[in-house]
Symmetry: D2
Subunit: 372 residues, 4 copies
């Protein structure tokens, strides 16, 4: 319980730091019988891989995943699925001038305060590289959900001030630009904006949006483990995320009850549906059958090329110039990480929801509900 375990029934433990031997994750609680291959995982990892565009670092991480356990004859066995990605380049010389310095916007100072040492090799456990383990675990959860008809899709909603337009929204378009924006024109504008940001040795932030479809009503536990509360924790646990909102989010603070309430009505097939979805698919923390829609605010990359003022470990003020290439924006690489965290959270709460009604439990075990 030192923070590297996530989930209750569908559970992962991640490990590894930047510039160590590798990164990995073990999944416990994945049901038996799910077809799963390294290729299923690799697809997800490739989406967070750097070096795909001019807005991402050119370091070639490779990131080939190996599955070490939990698969038998191509299917999951119900026992732990260990996965690892060996680092191909562990050289840390690029970080030499950072050895004793606390980088602004990074966790160097707080890790030193907590653990009593300074891992100068690029952030260690607090590096964004840590998220590779989440993505590998999330790929398993996503495959499980997809097999059950539940889809999770994240994309870039905004880069700086440039936001996708509802009119131009086209989900498939996200695969056509390196920013993963489902709006070609917004992506073009954002690309120009980022060129300016890079030219000024600076970095930019943005917003990732994520939509879960096909989720049955009834998922999420009341009180503390609400679906939206768990999603908030999942997404806020990414180092660069500073805000989370679901449905209309912060706008609700300026709305009215008469506008914000989603009325119910009867749909074409006689089913109960909501007339609108201001709630973002969640009522009282439990899914209502509508798409779950949430957003994460992501800060500008803290590693920037311009000069910054900071202090050394020994308590001397100094100026810092961070060398090497760094992404001017984290957002595009965060898209798949947000998707992974949503998948892990949804899979866990889906499984947890199975034990909430006696009649369904009796049906599951093929037992009559006996005399009381």
């Amino acid at each position: 319980m030192a923070g590297s375990v996530y989930g209750t029934l569908f559970q992962i433990m991640t490990w590894g730091e930047s510039h160590g031997k590798g990164i990995g994750v073990t999944v416990d609680g994945c049901p038996a019988g799910l077809p799963l291959s390294e290729e299923d995982i690799q697809q997800y990892l490739d989406r967070r891989k750097p070096g795909q565009s001019r807005f991402a670092t050119k370091r070639q991480e490779g990131d080939r995943v190996e599955i070490l356990s939990g698969i038998f004859e191509g299917k999951t066995t119900g026992t732990p699925i260990a996965m690892e990605i060996r680092n191909q380049d562990q050289r840390s010389r690029d970080y030499g001038n950072l050895m004793d310095v606390y980088r602004p916007g990074h966790a160097d100072y707080t890790f030193d305060q907590k653990y009593g040492f300074r891992d100068y090799r690029g952030g260690g456990r607090s590096s964004g590289r840590e998220t590779a383990g989440r993505v590998a675990g999330g790929a398993v959860a996503a495959k499980l959900l997809k097999t059950l008809g539940i889809q999770i899709r994240a994309y870039t909603r905004s880069v700086g001030e440039i936001q996708i337009s509802p009119e131009r929204f086209n989900l498939e378009e996200m695969w056509n630009n390196s920013l993963y924006m489902p709006d070609a024109e917004a992506a073009r504008q954002a690309g120009e904006f980022l060129n300016q940001v890079m030219a000024s040795k600076d970095s930019a932030g943005g917003v990732v949006e994520c939509v879960i479809t096909g989720l049955p009503a009834g998922i999420g536990e009341p009180v503390f483990d609400k679906l939206d509360a768990q999603l908030a924790k999942a997404v806020m646990s990414l180092g660069s995320v500073k805000g989370f909102e679901i449905g209309d989010g912060f706008l609700v603070s300026r709305s009215r009850g008469s506008l914000n309430n989603d009325g119910f009505r009867i749909g074409d097939k006689g089913q109960i549906i909501k007339s609108s979805n201001h709630a973002g698919g969640v009522l009282g923390g439990i899914s209502d059958g509508d798409p779950v829609v949430f957003r994460a605010a992501i800060k500008p990359t803290p590693s920037i090329a311009s000069l910054q003022h900071t202090v050394t470990r020994e308590g001397k003020e100094c100026d810092l110039e961070i060398k090497g290439r760094h992404d001017p924006i984290i957002v595009p690489r965060a898209v798949v990480v947000v998707e992974a965290m949503a998948a892990l959270t949804t899979a866990d709460l889906l499984l947890r929801s199975m034990s909430c009604r006696l009649d369904r439990i009796a049906g599951f075990f093929g037992r009559e509900i006996g005399p009381q």
Copy 2:
């Protein structure tokens, strides 16, 4: 693990529903030796009590807490502290016309989907009344923290479009108005605004802000159990909260790295401090010694007096008029609940942080670090 337990070392389990026999909470893991009385708890409960102003419901709940265990000679014993608040008025006749109807913006529909029944008595477990248990538990956590020099203070930051002004900010002013706004002029304007809202049979939302001071650096676990991630879950687990942000929050998505990074410098006493606090007191999910500042977006009260369209449990469309008095705004009563959730989260992570360094553990147990 059905969602009514919160925390790892400092842990609570809450119970109770609106219109049942009562509401309660049991705290496990509170250290022994903390002076604690029913009055300590009652102060917190009184702050969420309805009927304090014209913007809150006139039902008199009373809400007298009784401590049933875990105290010996005025101090905590280290064993569970059970607390309960008996409901004084369990009559449910006011809700008769809602028996078969799913109220918009409430969890009636999703609870029915999940559990297979409709508790028509005012929301049952999904009622805001559930939060009384959290507040009682949070009062214990807050007392523990205060004893160790850590203060948590929440207040109303905005009501609809009306926001407190940094220039007029005066924390003590919050006790002078029933909206708990630390700005007299904003409170006056918000009061007028709410009068209009009530006149139009509608409701309004707002934002609660919370500040934690005195927290040492090093609190929060890396990766999944970051301080901000846990706070996000804690606050998003309140039924009416639709957004959470820390530090500059959603604004970071439009900022630049050069502006958003908080540089370090050496303070007057030779200590390392940040020159600004865009991060909101958290770097890499671990407290940095600065105040932790976060906000929660709260939706308008879903129970409104104007006519709404909805469906019955049997799948017939109908119009609904909710009778009885309801708060036109949830925000003021949510202030103390946000404070309680922050206290529970902070106390838990504070205790969890004790086991992260060998040298400090050896010191704690009075043992030499032996030969390896």
Copy 3:
């Protein structure tokens, strides 16, 4: 996580100490739809109530349970079931002469070492009275299991050297004697033996045996959360239990593989069955469909009337004579507590087992297993 919470999906938190205001338990995770009344709980509590025979203390505890939440129209709602038993007699004057003394065989010394105080009122949280909360929670679990066709029955197997005989074994007989022995002759002998023990101001121990029938194969998680491992923890967490064994237990250490292995064969209905049950219904920690049989060794009551040597809190040696009536044997009252712990453990693992196979999950949610 200070030790008063038990279970993962079917979860309880207990509270209360001897001579406080009361004892209680909250059950979270009980499925919705189970008919449940105070009478269901009271039946179990009455079985551990003292004062039923001449071998049990004459203090009248009363122990009337009140259900405070989680029930709606006679059925569980899926939300927490809070139960409490108010102590009717909180007077502590009987314990005056024990105020500063550490009683041998009790936890007075270790609680003081851990928490820094001495609750002289009869043991506080370490009192056997704590188990009332377990029994109330276990009664809910037992009712759930019974409704699904799973029965749990514990009884006294031995008192001192006197053991029930396989030839005379008659389960219903246990209700005819105050020792809960399913063998009338053994009960008669044990009664005589206990008369002698009491006459010599001493106490005796014994063994409780428990049998779980109707449990489907496949319950229990591999590796750490095996069915037998969880039962061991459950039973060893009772203060007076010093040993646990399943199936042939300690005898296996003297057996041979050819004798101890249970061969498989085909039963009358074509089903696979074991030819014997040395394993006690568990293979690799997972139920095999046979009855689960385990035993707990219970120590003699530590409170005895004869003179004992001990020390005071201030570190002075002294002689101690414990006044008042105490049970000369704990075993009969422990029977229902063992049953309760077995029910809690079994219910939890039953629910946890639901998420282990994809095909069954898809069936549960009524979804086709989609294209991969």
Copy 4:
């Protein structure tokens, strides 16, 4: 929470099956600053390695551990320590004739019932090979404890009917025989006995005893997470263990209170000590400062060379002859596994005990206990 995670603060997750790519474990929550090398782990693994004597299988597993994360400049960082042991020989041809057969005494049948498939390659996750991960994790816990002055030592107490003698007991002697018995003469007799067992194509069981010294008083949480309850779970979670007892164990059922109670007295240095240790170092589930002594009953190896009757997966009765070499006794290889589980349990409860007293917490954080 599918059973491959153990511990609350000092936490491990294990993975891997026999005849897969490897076995591994990740440790989360080990404090920062502990010197740790692969050699520290390897020493423990070598003790469970097969092929060390004529009573252990001749398969050469090699079992070289590699540490993949969590170490920086030779010391733990406080973040996850991933360790893996690649299997050198994954060939499964030896198991061809077992493909469709349920082996008596193994978990083949129950795993198939639970997960719906038969991993015929030697047991898969239920193989004893799984314990290598526990041993690697336990080696880290043991090093942490040793550094703090706490020692854990397990050894073979009995093999079949042959038991070590208190008079001849010599702990260091255990390193001189392949059965790890701290009594040369008993080891000699046991060796002869095992030769006979092997000659008759059979197997034998035995008892492992474990002693924890140097543990401060106050470790263990009351009620459910008692030290002895957690040890019981830890040890009973080993597939071949059928019984657990602490202190006098099952003998207490035949003892008297006057004999079984351990009186207190004042020791040479004025400290409070027990005059005897029938309790095995635990009162009310909390360590009392005396050595913690417990035992585990281990069943005969289920894989035996003689003919056994069983069934196939398709439900046909058949005779089975298990080929290849198998240990005639599990006990010696279980010794280090019991030690590992005890170390994991003790380390976890030691860390958990740090948050139980306000005065000590205030001291830890260097804070005055403030005004209430």
